[in-house]
Amino acid sequence: MRLLSLALFLAGIANPAGVTLKIAPESVHLRGAGASQQFLLLAVDADGVERDVTAEAEWSLSSGKLASVQEAGRISAIADGTARVVATFAGASASATLRVEDAGKDPPFHFAHEISGILTKQGCNGAACHGGVKGRGGLKLSANGLYPQDDYEWITKGGTFQVLTSEVKGDRVPRVNLEEPEKSLLLTKPAMIEPHGGGKRFDKDSADYQAILAWIRAGAPYGSEEAAQRPEIVRLEAYPSLAVMPLNGKHRLLVTAHFSDGTAADYTHKVLFASNSRDIATVTADGVVTGKMLGETAILIRAAGHVASAAVGVIGPPVRNYPEVPRWNLVDEPVFSKLRRFQLVPSDVSDDYEFLRRVCLDLTGTLPPPERVRQFAASTDPHKREKVVDALLASPEFVDYWTFRFSDIFRVAIFANGLTPKWSQKYWEWIRENVETNRPYNEVARERLSAQGYGAASRHFLPYNQIGPPQDVMAEEVRVFMGRRMDCAQCHNHPYENWSQDQFWGMAAFFSRLFKVGPVVIDHPVNMDWSSKDVDGKIELVHPRTKAIVQPAVLDSASLDLRADANPRAALADWVVGHPYFAEAAVNRIWGYFFGRGIVDPVDDFRSTNPPTHPDLLAALAEDFRAKGHDLRHLMKTIVLSRTYQLSNRPNETNRVDRVNYARSMPRALDAEVLLDAVAAVTGVPEVFATAVTDGSAVGQAPRGTRAINLKDPDMYYSRFLELYGRPNRGAIPERDTKPNLGQALHMLAGSGYVERLGAKDSRLAHLLARGAADRAIFEEFYYAALGRPAEEAELQGLEQALAARQDREAGLREFVWALISSREFAENH
C-alpha cells in the first residue's frame, strides 16, 4: 500500500497536468543600485499540494534592459522602469510586476546596515561566537548586531568586554588597520589568513570580504548623518510562513525586510538561515530547505538586530481523496487546514465514552461516575455534548479544579507567600473567588501585578516574608502573564533573543520600589524620603553593569507616564494586560492543559527560536479571548466544543507518528493530584492528608474526603504518592514531571496509595460484595468508574476466566481492581 502511494506520488510529479502556478512576490519595487529580488514559483496540484519549482522554471523579463536574471528566480536592477517577470514551468506560466527606481543611486553607507549585516549573515555575531555573553577571542559583538554602535566601538577601538562592568579590559587594539587595511583582523581572521577559532567565513574574493575592505580603506566610518536617517528594519517576514515538502524535497524561503518608512526589500540573500532540527530539514545559505525526515521544524532567520522564523513540514505521501473535514468552531479551521497541507487526516470524532471521560478530567479533574456515563451514552440528544460541557463549567468541581490549577501557576505555598499558612490560604481564597466568579483574567492579572496593601493578592510578593528581588519578581510576572523567559538577560543581553540587559532591568525597575512596611506591601514614592536619610538609605535600582540608576521602561523601551508617588506597577499592569503577548500567553497556557502541549511549547517559553506550531490558531484564540472580555470559561468552552478537541485518540495511517498537529487526541498522564483523587474515587476510599509537622496536637489533618486538588497549602501535607507522581514544588514556577519512574512502579505494587485501599471496609468493592453483586456486574461497575466505558465482551470473559482460577474470590477481585487502577488506560487522559 505504501509503495502504491509512493508510485502515485511520483506520477503526480512527473505529470504536471492540472498544476497551477503561484509566483511570489506578485509585485516588486526595487530601489537603489544593486537592488535585487528573489522570486519563488510554486506548483499547486489538484489536491492542493504545493511544490517549489523555482529552480526548474524558466525565468524571463519583458524588458531585458531593466534588470537581469542572475540565477534561478533572482532578478537584479539595472535601470529605472517597469517590466513583467515571467516564470514558465511545464507549459504553464505565471508573472509578477517589477518596478525599478533609482537604479543608479547607491544608498548612503551605514555601519549598521552594511557591516553589521555581513557579520550577522556570516554568523560572526551569533550566540556561539562573538555574539555570546563574553564574546569570543577577545572580541565581543552584540547578538545579531542588535547594538551596532557598541559593535563599531569594539571593532574600531578594540579592548575586551566585561560582563559585570562597562569598563574596558586590557589594551585597546583595533580590529581594523587603517594604514594597511588588508592586515585588519576583521579580514584576516574570517578569511583564515590568520588562525581563527570560528574557521573560514569567506574568501578574499568574496563580496563580503571586498565590502569590508572597501569600508576600511574608506577610513572605517560609522556612517554619515544622512545614512543615519536611513529607514531601519522593523521586522523580517518569511515567505511562506509554513513550507511543506516531501521527503528529500526542496523548498526555497523568501525573506522580506520591512522598514520604518513603510518600504520593504528582499533580504533573502542578506540573512543567516539556520534549522532548528537538522535531522528534519537542512537549509542552505540562500534559504533553500531540504526535507530530511518526516516531521516539523522551524527555520530561523537572522538579520541585523532581528530574528524571524518559518515553519517547515516534511510530509509523507499525499493522500488522495483527502476527506472534507467539518469545522465546528474557530479552532478547527487553522488546525485542519494545516493538517491538510501536511497530508495528515484527522482521526474520527471520539465516541461518547471517550469524550465524556476526557472532558470531565480536563474541565474538572474528576472522573465521570458510572451512572452519568451510562446516561450520557444512552442519550439521543444531538446537543448532549454542549449540554454536558455547560454542566461541567457550572459545577463546583470546576471551581475546585481550576483553583488548584491557578494555585500552581500563582504559587500558593507557605514559603512563597510570607512564611505563614494564614497568608497562603488567604491567597488561595482569592484565587478561588476569582475562579468561582469567572472574573475576567485581565482583571485578575492586573490585581496580582499591582497589588498593594494587606490584601491577599499582595502576599505573592512576600516570599519568605520579604519583598523578593525586583529582577526575580519581574521575571516571574513576565513569564506567567506574557509567556516569555527573560532571565538570561539579567546578566547580559539575551544570547538567543532580542532581549537586552537594559530591557530586562528597565522592566525590573517597575518592581524596584516594592517595599514592605510591617506586613503591608507598598511602592515607595520616588519623591519622598520617608526617613531613608536617617539610615543613609536609598530606594533605587542600580544597573549591574553600568551602575546607572535604572528607570522603569517596558519591553519596547518606552517609558510609561509614571507619577513619582504612584504605583509604577499599576501602569505596568495596564501595559501588560493590553499587550498582545498577554492574551497569547493566556490562551496558549489554557490550550496546553487540554492538549498536553501548548501551541507554543513549553507554554511559557515564547521566543523567536521557538515559534508556534499554529500561529493562526494562536492569533484566533487570542483575538476571541480579548473580544470576549478575557473570559476563561468561554475560552475553555470554545476549546472543548471544537472538533479538534473531540477527535478520537485512535490513530489512522496518516497521523500515527504526528504528535504536534492535533490530528488525534494524544494520551496525557494524569497529574499527581488528579490521579490520586481518581484512585480514591474508583476504590471508594478517600485519601487521608495529614500535615507534615509531627509535634503532638499541632498536627492537623484535612477533613475526611478532602480531595488532593482541594488542599489549600499542599506543601503542608506530605504525601508519598503525590511526590512520586510529580507534584511540583511551588518554591519556583512549578513544572510538572509526569514521566513514569521506578518509584511509581514500586508504589503501585506495595504502596499505601494502592494496596491499602483494596482491602478497606468501606470500599466500592466491599459495598458491591455486601450487596451480593455478581462478578460480571462488579467488573462492569469498575470499568465504568475507572475507564468511563463498558468492558468489552472479550475483556469480561478474560476476567471471568482469571477469577475462576482463583480460590479466593474476594482476593481475586481485589487484584482485578488493582490491575485496573494500575493500568495505563486509567492513569491517562486520552
Partner: protein
Amino acid sequence: MKLFRFVAGATVLASLLASEPPSVPPSPASMHPFAGMRGEPFEVVIRGTDLGAVRSAFSEESRLRLTVGAIEPEPPNEANAKSKKPFELLRLRVESPSGLEPGQYDIRLVSPHGVSNALPLHIMEFPVLAEPAGSHDSEETAVRVESAPALYAGRIERRGEVDFYEVQAKQGQTLTFQVLSGLPAPGSPGGNARGFDPAVTIFEPSGSWFDPGHMRRVAFSDEPLWVIGRATDTHLVHTFAKDGRYLVRVEAFSGQGSPDYSYQFRILPGEAPAPASHNPDWQERSYTRPLSANRLNELAERGGIKPDKKSIETYRASADGPEFRLPGTLLGTIAEPGEMQRARFQIDTPQDIAIEVETPADDPPLFNPVVRLLNASGEEVASNLMAGRGACSGALNKSLQAKTVVPLRDTGEYTVEIRDATSDLAGPGFQYKVQVRPQVPHVGDVGITADRLNLKPGGAETVRVNFDREEDYRGAVAVLVEGLPPGVQALAGADFEPDKDPPMHAGKRERYTPRRERSVVVFTASDDARPTPEPHLARIVVRPVAGGKPGPVIASKTIPVMVVGHP
C-alpha cells in the same frame, strides 16, 4: 562489695517508691464547655495536669459559686499519648446569680501546692446548648439548629474532626456565625502555643453533576482579618441568596484537633458586631487609643504633674494645607487613592514636639497613615516611619509608628502631611486623627509580669515591673504592693539584665521608642509563714513621683498569692 551495691540500689529504689508526687500547683489546660447561662447551674470539665490535689476553685468574682467534683484520669487518646505527665479531668459545678453581668470571668484551681493559671469562663445571658454526643462530621449527622440566636458549646477533639450544624435560611436573610475559641491560638491575645483557631464554612447541600451528595461551598471565614495580636476567632456575616437548608462546618485551622479545642458556636440573627476585645491598660503607641482634647492633662497626670492644661483644639487638614496652632488635633479622611492632606503651623521658638496618630475606623494594616513633617522649604524634617538597617544583610527596613517625638530647633513654618502608605488604597474608613503637641514628660506603658504567686515558707519570687520613660520623663517611679497574706513581704530589688547587641544602623530610633526601664519586686515568705488555704489577692500599684510626691496610680494589677507547703 556486691552486697553493698545491692543495698545501695535497693535504698535508692525504695526512696523513689516512697517519694510523694512533686508539689506543684495545678496546671489546667482547658475547660469544656467554657460558657454557661447566668442563673442556671452548669458543669464544666477542666482538663489538665497535676489536678489530683485540687480542693477548690477560685474566681475574683465572689458571686460565682464553684464546686469541685470528681477528678479522674483522662482515658488514653492521641493528644495525651506522648505527654510526660498524665492528664486528668476535673468536674466543676458553676452557679451564678441571675443578676451577674454577662462577660468573661477568670477561673483558677487551688490545691495545697498553689493556685493555678486562669481559664476564661463566659457567663451568658441566654442558654448554652451542648453539642450532642457522637460524631457530627457529615450532612446526615449534622446538629440541627432550631432557631437563632443559638449558642452551642462544642469541641474539636481530634485532628481532622469537623462539626456540622444544619440551619434553615430564607432568601435575603442575614445571619452571623461566630466561633470563639476556648484556647486562643498563637499570635492572638492570650495566645497559647497549643491554641485553637476556629474556622467556619457554609455549604449548600445541592449536589453536583458528579455527586448528588456534594455540598457546594457558599462562604468561608477563618477570621475577619488575620494580624498578629488580634483574635483568630471566626466572625462570618452571610446573607443567603435563596431559601433552603444549609450546613455550617466548624473546624480548626489546618485540620488540627485536641481535647482542649473547646469552642462556642454562636448563630445570631442579622449582622451582629464582632466580639470586641477590650484592653483596659494604658497604651502609649496603639493606633486605636483615643487622642482626646484632654490629652495634655492625661499625660501630665502620668508624669505626676498637675493637670492644668487647656483643651487641644481640633482642625481639618486638606489638600490646601490650612493653618493651625500648636497644640492641635488634625482630623481627616483619605477618601481617594493617592490623596494627601496637609496643615501648617508656625513656631517662634525652638520646641520639642510630639506627633501622635490615631485611626478611629480602619487601622493598620488596612489604613496605614504616613505622617510627614516638612519645613518651609518642603524638606522632610521627620516622619512616622522608623527606618533601620537589618543586622544581617543591612537591608533597609521601615515601620509605621503611632507616635514620633521631634526636636524642632528651627523656628518658622512647618507642614504636617498625611497620606496612606499605599498609593492605590483609600476609603471612608481611612480616617485619621493626628495630634501635634508639645512634649509632656510622663510614664508610658507599664508591664507587670506576674500572673500568680505560690510562695513556700522561706522562699522568694521575683516580679518584674517594666515601664517606659516618655518624652524625657526623669522622675522616679514608685511600685507598691497591697493586700499580702501574713508572713509575706514585697521588697524592692534589682535584677540582672544582659546586654544586647546594638543594631547595625538604628537610625533615629529615639524618636519612636521610649527609654525602657525595669524595676523588680521580690516577694518573700518568712520561714514561719503559715500556708494559706485560699489565695489572697495582692495588688501591685505603680505611681510616678514628681517634686517629691507620689502621683496618682497609673497602673495596677491584682494577682492571687498563696503560701504553700514547706520550704
